[in-house]
């Protein structure tokens, strides 16, 4: 059947009407094959105009519509709806822009008319090749996987759970709360961090619709936005979470002592342990690598001590499968190991510690019960804080180190009123509304700030530490008892594995790469996979929580139980008869939307992930991929029309 094309040229009042000879164009196109009718209208986007368009489609029995008007960015959607209401598939309308890109930039009416005619010709040429596109919707899971139980993960869990979503929280360590649970006080409120997050922890653990998997890892994810299938490896804890009441009777008899990583190596723990006093859930875990029994020795000390029979050496890893619609990554960050920078003497010199180690020394649930002590058990009489450790090497400012160092200096000033306190800095980064006053305050408290511009070197000096700073000729030395390093924030060690499992990209620094630094800082390029908190970039608690809330909001608005998810209509489609299976497209797709059908040996586009950019279409050497609404034939027809 021959197409019946209706061509409608909008005058947009005087905007097009005065600049382009609309009637001449209408007359000119009337005779073109396929053009059933051509008319002008004073304002197509008005209520009148839309009614006119609808009556034309119905009255003229149009199969294609060409609208020459303003930019499609203004009213294309409105016009498409009008087509739909008149019974025409909205993708059978071709719009062309004769206002912004023609009438408004071309002062000469004759030239503007010629250009407008070219644009209309292109659209008329393209119109018969348009194909109807059905908007697809898919059934979705509204449940969500959250990976990482720090402040960001907790916020995401609670925001989602409060709206009734089922949430699965996977945390690799035996407890939730992340780094914040290990700080005594946090800036800028200087409140007790464990107290601050305790209600959140309790709520997450107790809420019916949050299932918490501690000591667990994500092992596999399949599927895409709306329909992920995830495998969670729940590692054997050897202590039953149901039977254990957290009395701690098992710790004492354990004959093993190893360095406690949760106290940054400043204390010892047993092979059966909780990371620190007050860690939640309050259920110990047996460290298989260090437990005598798992090394073949006959030891049942903990089992015999447990009054509730909660210890089970036969416990096995369990792989649990869950269906979710979205994944929120909140795996946090860690600090650069300063051993990599030998000038600071970390790992070689006593009393050179990281800020995290000082946090633990300062914590009342830490190795010294909150007393800041040197290795010899005495209180330090002088402390040097060294900022920007590894900033030059990492080539980014972590943004939180100045402020947490200032916080620690403030706490030290109160704890050790007579101690000399120095801060060696390169630039002071205190950008938020409450932060600068803390800098001013510690300066007032007598903390000495010395601009060292990354020249600090620490050496041993007769039982003390010599902090040399400045260039060789003008170098000065300050003698202190303790040096506290503020190393660069870097992503936690498991991020690489997780990125591999999810096939989501990381930036140059190793953090999860956001979809857009400003507009979508919480989303990854993979639809339905979000990265929040410090796994996306160094962040303080407030920023991490805000980002988690933003991601949760997105999930809540897009995945609604009982509602289907509308897919992008203009996607790429692979013709499997033409596909040679070269995989070129798979490598190019920024959204991991193309996979290989192993049986057929061809590429398949996941319509839930494709965003219709057309990169793969232009790259396919076999011409096997079609971009809906931007097919080769359509564009070639447009080229031909333009050149007319």
């Amino acid at each position: 059947m021959a197409e019946r094309i209706g061509v409608y040229v909008c005058k947009c009042g005087p905007n097009i009407g005065d600049k382009v000879d609309v009637d001449a164009i209408v007359d000119d196109v009337k005779g073109i094959e396929g053009v059933a009718t051509a008319k002008s209208h004073n304002l197509l986007c008005s209520a009148d105009g839309l009614e006119f368009l609808k009556s034309e489609i119905e009255g003229e029995k149009l199969t294609r519509v060409v609208v020459a008007a303003c930019t499609p960015k203004m009213y294309e959607q409105k016009l498409m709806r009008a087509c739909e209401e008149a019974g025409l598939n909205p993708f059978l309308m071709q719009m062309t822009n004769i206002r912004e890109q023609c009438a408004w930039v071309t002062p000469d009416k004759a030239l503007a008319t010629r250009k407008a005619r070219s644009l209309v010709m292109a659209a008329i040429n393209r119109a018969p090749l348009l194909e109807p596109i059905e908007r697809k919707e898919i059934e979705v899971q509204a449940d969500v996987l959250v990976v990482g139980g720090g402040v960001a993960g907790l916020e995401a869990c609670l925001s989602l759970a409060q709206k009734g979503r089922k949430v699965y929280l996977v945390e690799k360590s035996p407890c939730i709360g992340g780094l914040a649970a290990r700080f005594e006080e946090v800036y800028p409120t200087m409140e007790c961090a464990p107290c601050m997050i305790a209600p959140e922890l309790q709520e997450v653990l107790q809420k019916e619709n949050i299932e918490v998997f501690t000591h667990s890892e994500v092992e596999e994810t399949l599927g895409s936005f709306g329909n992920f299938s995830v495998k969670i490896r729940r590692k054997a804890r050897y202590v039953s979470e149901e039977a254990c009441i957290g009395c701690g009777a098992c710790f004492e008899p354990c004959p093993v002592e190893v360095s406690n990583e949760y106290d940054e190596g400043l204390s010892k723990r047993k092979a059966i342990y909780v990371p620190f006093a007050g860690a939640l859930p309050n259920v110990p875990v047996i460290d298989k690598d260090n437990c005598k029994r798992f090394k073949g020795e006959e030891c049942r000390a903990c089992e015999q001590a447990c009054p509730f029979g909660a210890i089970s050496f036969d416990d096995k890893d369990e792989v649990i499968e869950r269906k979710v619609g979205a994944i929120i990554l909140a795996t946090g960050a860690t600090l650069l190991d300063p051993k990599a920078l030998p000038q600071y003497g970390y790992g070689k010199l006593d009393n050179v510690v990281t800020a995290l180690q000082l946090e633990r020394l300062n914590a009342s649930n830490g190795p010294t019960g909150g007393k800041v002590l040197l290795k010899n058990g005495k209180e330090p009489k002088s402390i040097a804080f060294v900022f920007c450790v590894g900033r030059k090497e990492k080539e980014y400012c972590s943004g939180i180190c100045c402020m947490y160092s200032i916080k620690l200096a403030h706490i030290m000033r109160e704890k050790l009123p007579d101690a000399k306190l120095y801060c060696f800095y390169s630039d002071i980064c205190v950008p938020k509304k409450e932060h600068q006053q803390w800098y001013d305050r510690v300066v007032d408290q007598g903390v000495e700030f010395i601009r060292s511009n990354g020249t600090v070197a620490v050496t041993a000096d007769k039982g003390k530490l010599a902090v040399k700073h400045g260039t060789d000729s003008s170098g000065k030395t300050v003698s202190v008892d303790m040096v506290v390093l503020a190393p660069a924030v870097e992503p936690s060690s498991d991020i690489e594995k997780l990125a591999g499992i999810l096939d989501t990209s990381r930036d140059d620094h190793g953090f999860f790469c956001e979809e857009h630094a400003l507009m979508k800082p919480f989303a990854t390029a993979l639809e339905g996979v979000f990265a929040v908190g410090s796994c996306q970039g160094p962040k303080d608690i407030g920023d991490a929580v805000a980002q988690a809330g933003a991601a949760a909001g997105r999930v809540l608005s897009r995945l609604v139980p009982g509602e289907k998810l509308a897919l992008e209509p203009m996607v790429a489609v692979v013709d499997e008869d033409l596909c040679s299976g070269c995989k070129t497209c798979i490598l190019l797709c920024p959204y991991s939307a193309i996979t290989r059908d192993k049986e057929k040996g061809t590429s398949v586009v996941d319509e839930a992930l494709c965003r219709g950019c057309g990169t793969c279409v232009a790259a396919c050497p076999s011409g096997a991929i079609t971009a809906k609404q931007f097919t080769r034939e359509q564009i070639l027809a447009e080229i031909k029309g333009v050149a007319k």
Binding site: G31, I32, T71, P72, K73, N97, R99, E100, Q101, C102, A103, W104, V105, T106, P107, D108, L111, A112, R114, K115, R117, S118, L119, M121, A122, E515, A525, M570, L588, P590, Y591, R611, G612, C613, G614, T615, V617, A618, A619, C620, P621, S622, G623, A627, F630, R632, E633, I635, L636, A637, E638, I639, K640, V642, A643, K644
Partner: protein, 167 residues
């Protein structure tokens, strides 16, 4: 380059245009370049719109074809535009690093380098094609690109493919 029956059919039609439809270039005595511009939807098309919104003036030579991403521009499109009689072809997209689709414009850049080589082999001057990065806020830059490119094409003269088949 992939091709098929429909495209070949178009070829025939392009090389022997229907009579009766007057092209802008044939209208007057002075050479009015005809430029086909492939503009990405997110940056350059929006930049071109902005040029209009701010009422900048530019020669009427460039007629836009909107694509979602500059990476949709198959080098074949560039060749087809010349075969259809264009005197110049502009490809414009988001600035490197700003692609709406993360990395599309990097592929555009590589393809463009390849397209240039092919055009050179075919004997068409390299200055008849131009790749430009124009953001959605660069209405002024868009107008400049079109003005400059039009001047370049005006100097280069009509596309020789109109009088001699170079393919």
């Amino acid at each position: 380059m992939a091709d098929d029956g429909a495209a070949r059919q178009l070829d025939k039609e392009i090389l022997s245009p229907k009579p009766g439809i007057q092209s802008p270039a044939e209208g007057g005595g002075d050479f009015q370049p005809r430029i086909v511009g492939f503009l990405c939807n997110w940056c350059s098309y929006a930049g071109a719109d902005l040029a209009g919104v701010t009422r900048l003036k530019m020669p009427p030579s460039m007629v836009a074809i909107r694509v979602m991403c500059s990476s949709r521009v198959d080098p074949l499109f560039v060749l087809k535009a010349f075969l259809a009689g264009a005197d110049g072809v502009l490809v414009a997209g988001c600035h490197p690093g700003d692609c709406h689709y993360q990395t599309g414009n990097y592929y555009t850049r590589r393809r463009f380098a390849l397209t240039l080589k092919v055009l050179e082999e075919l004997g068409l001057e390299a200055n008849r094609v131009r790749l430009s990065w124009v953001s959605a806020s660069e209405g002024g830059r868009f107008a400049e690109v079109v003005t400059e490119f039009t001047e370049t094409i005006r100097k280069a003269g009509p596309n020789p493919a109109k009088t001699e088949v170079f393919l």
